[in-house]
Subunit: 208 residues, 2 copies
Amino acid sequence: MKDFFEKLDEQKRERILNAAIKEFAYKKYEDASTNNIVSAAQIGKGMLFHYFGNKKNLYLYLYRYVREVMDKEIYSRIDYESGVLPIILKQLAKYNLETFKRHPSITDFIAQCNRETSPEVHDDIQNIRNERGVKIKEDIIYKNLDMKLLKPEFREKQTIKLIHWALDGYISEIKGSYNGENLDQLPVEEIMTDYDSYMDIICKAFYL
Amino acid sequence: MKDFFEKLDEQKRERILNAAIKEFAYKKYEDASTNNIVSAAQIGKGMLFHYFGNKKNLYLYLYRYVREVMDKEIYSRIDYESGVLPIILKQLAKYNLETFKRHPSITDFIAQCNRETSPEVHDDIQNIRNERGVKIKEDIIYKNLDMKLLKPEFREKQTIKLIHWALDGYISEIKGSYNGENLDQLPVEEIMTDYDSYMDIICKAFYL
DNA sequence: AAAACAATCGACCATCTTGGTCTATATTAT
DNA sequence: ATAATATAGACCAAGATGGTCGATTGTTTT
């Protein structure tokens, strides 16, 4: 059934994926409209149901898909060895932006899924979530940090949180400013250069 | 017409306001449902239209209302004199939390209004917005800062942004964790004590 | 070229939701 | 008791919903 979908050429497949992810990202399951999806994806209505059978299947397919993307494109690529938070966060930021470029609404979609309470899909999401242990980003980061690299007066968990919030702030601003159009030309390398200068300030302030 | 509404006892009035603000906060104007509002506010459907005439009037009334609240309860109370960013941000944070307590979705509602593209209300919002000059929070803050209070090596705009993001991060986390229930017991004073300890770290790191 | 097969569209369906109305009932004031 | 006001929710036409299906187009296979 979904074989039909997976055999589509990449362009069309991603058009459908992104249209659907976007629709589900900003509405609860029940409010999301398959009509909006097909019209944004520029396909006939019949096709969506030919590929996925029904709304619920589509939704669960998307959830599995984005989880896999996040895992493969981001989390599994992080190198925690340095023990320096800004270095770890920079990797996260970079891979995150690259994924954002392909699937702009992916983060919001996942957040929406986690909030989802619709009885029709709630349990299924929980099940998929538990299939593989949920990688809780923050826990993994915190466990791999070397606090001795911080200046002595800053060796507290609160410092870690502040650094996290500060550097995430920059990425959020970038994402916010690219809401909409020219996304395929998002200059990741350039952004990472700016990221470095923020990182330098943080390191100068908190690290030895 | 809306006199009827304003003469309601406070409890009911705020129930209606919050139900409506919440409904409009997370959906575009066209997707927001007056049915959801009346059922959340526990009033009959007729009443909503008795008070506001129609959906659009309700929406614009809300927008005027929240703008006034934000102005009166937050922006106009800030004292910029110290020129020290964390001190200014702390005031913002405190007043913000108090407002959040009364109207949990107010910030999201305003954000949604600013994004709003529905032709039926877009222009009206812009007009209300321009009635009084928009106070752009960040501009006012930046203009009143005394950079000489920072350690010399940190006297850059980037430092300011980092501090801003970092401290806003704490407030966002608090707001996120109180999503839903026990909001009337949100311990603002206690939170501000924690805020102080984050503030201290920032000051120790960046200020003389 | 014909026939067989697959991919695609969008009109169509019953059902539900929408913003808004209006009548019938409570409640209050006189 | 009467008049005036406040309230609820059944009801309406219009539109949107998830899902179906016959018709059409495009691509192979013969």
